[in-house]
């Protein structure tokens, strides 16, 4: 079928066209339903693409029939096929949840525009991931960022601070994007091409050019801002805290993932070949920052009273794990990163959605307001506990799989100190998760408060992710297989 051949681009163009249509749908239920359809369409598309990639290898698509390097190429291989699946999958799970959540948290007249922004954000993230053109990446980076600012600002009905959070994010995000585009410009200056495969082929022979090195540094720092690598994470806690619950769940599970994927792509596909700059850049800059982030994020999380902010800081720590995996520059390390992209999306998605359920009933996610809440919302809190255990990395959950590969990667290089640090920081997660469990389960409910379980439309999506947390923790054969293919693909291009 011909349409099938166009799937790599339809995956992105479909939502892009859908977004303006959505803005015309004034009825909010209709807008929601339309968004859900678009998202599920993208999800099915990504499943098909990943499946094809696993069977027959990478798919290349030339937009408008213009072959690379002149035209824009879309290229799906195991690594970005996997990320496409994560993004569209999480989006499809969050949307059913989002309906009730938005009804509470966002003014009614803004709904269709909010869904439009949501679709645009989805488009941007999918575009970043699917494209094989460095400048096209920038375009979609901006699409996703601009729509994200809108999404974050939509939390203003609940808390006006959402506006400053969004503004802060706007400034920093723009700086990050600028750094990125300067880097791409320098690359173009040195190589005369923007196609990733072409770039890779030309970067090698040039070798140690200062232009290239500076370009690479600009790109890494721009992306580090986007993915909230410590100490460039400043925008993240406020943005996640004040955005509407469903937006936080979606962003936490997807936005930083796309940026991490980009970092992988630039580090390995493009600069992996020949540039002597990769090892020092990653080893001397990224690794210490990743380690610092793991501890700073977790320690900050321990002292938070607002649980959304607590999980936001936890995300900073988790991003540290992903970048640490990259900095090992080994197959196992890349597998750890790729697995954690997926696994972290599942656990943080579930955790933020559970908090969304709590907010829906209690109107607060302050730890002091959650006293004894487990008795009133047993299913919600059970979901929180299970995904919290996953975050800690208890066996039979996905968190354990990530940790296993991360430690394996460190062990392969006999980096004993790193192993000790990884294990120590993962124990910090026990502390901040257990604070919540103690308050929710072992304290008496606040007298006089009658709170009931969250509605099914929110509970079911949350539990879908919780079950995924367990399923992919018990049987990780699929995810590890994809992660291995992705890692080998990334490094294979480099050699």
């Amino acid at each position: 079928m011909i349409a099938v051949d166009h799937l790599p681009v339809l995956q992105v163009v479909g939502p892009l066209i859908a977004a303006p249509i959505c803005s015309l749908l004034r009825a909010r239920n209709l807008a929601w339903f339309f968004t859900l359809l678009v998202s599920i369409g993208a999800f099915l598309c990504s499943i098909y693409l990943l499946n094809t990639v696993l069977e027959t290898g990478p798919i290349s698509y030339a937009i408008g029939g213009w072959a690379a390097p002149l035209g824009i190429e879309y290229r799906v291989d195991a690594s970005n096929g996997f990320v496409l699946l994560i993004i569209s999958g999480i989006s499809s799970v969050v949307l059913p949840f989002a309906k009730r959540s938005f009804e509470l948290e966002v003014p009614e007249n803004q709904h269709s525009l909010l869904y439009t922004a949501y679709i645009l954000c989805l488009t941007g993230l999918l575009g970043i991931t699917a494209t094989a053109d460095a400048f096209n990446v920038f375009v979609f980076l901006e699409v996703s960022s601009l729509s994200t600012y809108v999404l974050v600002a939509a939390g203003a009905k609940q808390d006006r601070r959402a506006l400053t959070a969004a503004y802060n994010y706007l400034i920093l995000g723009t700086i990050g994007a600028t750094f990125f585009v300067i880097g791409v410009g320098l690359l173009y200056m040195a190589t005369g091409t923007l196609n990733m495969a072409d770039l890779a082929a030309r970067v090698g022979p040039i070798g140690g050019s200062r232009t290239l090195d500076v370009g690479f540094a600009f790109i890494v720092i721009g992306l580090a801002l986007k993915l909230a690598l410590f100490p460039l994470h400043n925008w993240l806690p406020n943005a996640y805290t004040y955005a509407p619950s469903a937006v936080t769940a979606f962003l936490a599970a997807t936005a930083t993932k796309a940026a991490v994927y980009l970092l992988l792509r630039f580090c390995f596909t493009i600069f992996g070949s020949g540039s002597g700059f990769l090892a020092p850049m990653v080893g001397l800059v990224c690794m210490p920052l990743a380690l610092a982030g793991m501890f700073a994020g977790s320690l900050a999380a321990i002292y938070q009273y607002n649980l959304k902010r607590m999980l936001a800081y936890s995300s900073v720590a988790q991003i540290g794990y992903m970048v640490l995996g990259i900095s090992f520059l080994s197959i196992t390390g890349l597998m750890a990163t790729t697995l954690h992209l997926f696994n972290h999306a599942l656990m943080k998605g579930a955790l933020f959605m559970a908090l969304g359920c709590v907010f829906f009933r209690v109107r607060s996610v302050n730890i002091n307001d959650l006293s004894g809440i487990a008795r009133q919302m047993p299913w919600t809190m059970a979901a929180f506990v299970i995904s919290g255990l996953s975050l800690i990395g208890v066996p039979l959950t996905v968190g354990f799989i990530s940790k296993w590969y991360l430690i394996s990667a460190a062990l392969e290089q006999e980096a004993w100190v790193l192993i000790a640090l990884i294990l120590a920081s993962s124990l910090l997660a026990v502390i901040y998760i257990w604070r919540v469990i103690e308050v929710a389960y072992l304290k008496d409910p606040i007298p006089g408060r009658t709170v009931t379980e969250a509605p099914l439309s929110m509970l079911l999506p949350t539990w879908a992710l919780v079950i995924a947390n367990i399923y992919f923790g018990v049987d990780a054969s699929l995810t590890t297989r994809v992660a291995r293919m992705a890692a080998e693909g990334l490094v294979g291009v480099a050699q």
Partner: protein, 496 residues
């Protein structure tokens, strides 16, 4: 029922029981009935496996593959069989006791209590029959998590603090150290299967072996090797049946069982003997044995004293593992069984005293033996067994452990065993002596004010369900003395 089915049944039957307990939570009689039936059925299934295992069978099965090469697999071998028998057997008695204790004290949230109990037993079965270190690690963690609500059961600030220490140390050591050891083993050896003779020979530099062993030994926090022993006294805030579960049935036994498994099936006794990698452990374990005994003498709270006694007794087993010879390993494995019977008796007696009189301090227990003769009689037998005096079970395990120490020619270690036995006498027997021979304060005041009528000499025992179980296990201490050779016969294949 084929052996494989029976094996799976040991894992899933308690889980099924858990669901039933949840469903019958509103009718206490039915709920406790479910607990008992599950316990008896589980023990029957475990026993049905015993004969074949004695005959040398070693059935196994793989449930699923979690990561490439890492399987959730089960295999029955003698050591695990012993642990499963003890855990499931004592669970019946502990359930009876729980019913008496929890009702006697009017504890709340009993449904959650029984559910967590069954989950803990299920994970103990998983640990016992794990076919590789990966599977064992998983169930080890499940056991920790499922016992947390039990330790925190009273939900007071003190209980929460105790439970926090409990969880913190157990999760901290298992994730911080043991997981690293497991992954290291996996990378070095390419397998985690429990294999006779070990899997590490020639796979890892001999210089590094002591470090790997240290990661395992300190990482198995449930074995309470100093300095990771604080969780045991902290967990004393739990209701007494939970303490019995922790100390005798599942948790600490799972710890020392894992220690033995690692020494026998991961490192291999021969490798440890040849390289001397376990030499340092002898000293750490000896220190734990003696130091814990000395601390126990200073404790006036009965459960705290018993807790330190447990730490010391676990040290015996770890010491046996460190000696790494046939006798010491046999002695260590046997000690799992004999200490379980002795210690559960002591704890259930402590609980019975609490239910009847609400006394927790030893200094308050003067003359109580005359009021609660059965309880104190059982306590006396349990204590004698722990000390290692014939005709009680503890004799044999100490005998084999000392024999193992003598075989290595380390007279100091023999001395450690002997001195600590003396210390056992010093901290356990005064409790009995106080109970039986010192006049109770009530009697003393009564005789002082001579006009008052003669003190009541009546017997006031705890409820029947609190007194019967310790008497049964005390009898078990006696019976095991005469049948220890059967256990030795079961265990012998692991060292030959």
């Amino acid at each position: 029922m084929s052996m494989e089915t029976a094996l799976l049944a040991t894992l899933f039957l308690p889980l099924a029981g858990m669901v039933l307990i949840w469903l019958t939570g509103n009718s206490p009689n039915l709920r406790e009935g479910v607990t008992l039936v599950t316990a008896v059925a589980l023990f029957a299934i475990v026993l049905s496996l015993l004969d074949a295992v004695m005959a040398g069978a070693s059935p196994g099965l793989t449930l699923l593959e979690v990561m490439p090469g890492l399987e959730l697999a089960f295999k029955i071998e003698p050591l695990g069989m012993l642990f499963a028998c003890i855990a499931s057997g004592l669970w019946i008695i502990n359930s009876l006791y729980s019913i008496g204790y929890m009702r006697g004290n009017g504890e709340k949230k009993q449904t959650r209590f029984y559910m967590c109990f069954t989950l803990a037993i299920s994970s103990a079965m998983g640990i016992a029959f794990a076919g590789n270190m990966f599977t064992l690690f998983i169930f080890y963690e499940v056991l920790t998590l499922s016992t947390y609500p039990l330790v925190a059961h009273k939900e007071t600030e003190e209980a929460k603090r105790g439970a926090r220490i409990y969880l913190g140390i157990l999760i901290g050591t298992s994730i911080g150290l043991q997981l690293a050891a497991v992954i290291w083993t996996w990378i070095a050896a390419g397998t985690l299967d429990f294999t006779k003779g070990g899997i590490l020979a020639d796979q890892i530099e001999p210089v590094l072996l002591p470090f790997l062993l240290a990661l395992y030994m300190f990482g198995i926090g449930k074995a309470a090797l100093m300095p990771f022993h604080r969780w045991l006294p902290a967990a004393m805030v739990a209701p007494t049946p939970v303490s019995a579960l922790l100390h005798a049935v599942a948790v600490v036994k799972a710890g020392v069982f894992t220690v033995l498994k690692v020494v026998v099936y991961i490192f291999g006794i021969d490798l440890l003997t040849q390289t001397g990698a376990a030499h340092w452990l002898i000293w750490v374990a000896s220190f734990t044995v003696l130091a814990a005994s000395l601390v126990a003498m200073t404790k006036d709270n009965l459960k705290a004293r018993l807790a330190y006694s447990t730490i010391s007794q676990l040290g015996y087993i770890v010491l046996g593992a460190a000696l790494a010879n046939h006798y010491a390993i046999l002695g260590g494995a046997l000690h799992i069984a004999t200490h379980a019977f002795g210690k559960i008796t002591l704890f259930m007696c402590a609980g019975a005293i609490y239910v009847a009189t609400h006394k927790t301090e030893i200094s308050d227990m003067q003359g109580l033996g005359r009021v609660m003769p059965f309880t104190f009689g059982a306590f006396c037998i349990g204590a004698l067994s722990i000390i290692g005096l014939p005709p009680f079970a503890g004799t044999w395990s100490k005998w084999y452990l000392a024999l193992g120490a003598a075989e290595t020619g380390m007279i100091v270690v023999v001395a450690v065993y002997m001195v600590s036995s003396l210390l056992n006498i010093a901290y356990l027997m005064p409790i009995v002596a106080r109970g039986f021979f010192r006049p109770s304060p009530a009697l003393a005041t009564a005789s002082a004010g001579a006009a008052v009528a003669p003190a009541k000499g009546g017997i006031q025992e705890a409820p029947f369900f609190c007194v019967l179980p310790p008497c049964l296990t005390a009898a078990g201490c006696l019976v095991l003395f005469f049948y220890a050779d059967a256990i030795i016969a079961l265990l012998r294949p692991i060292v030959e």
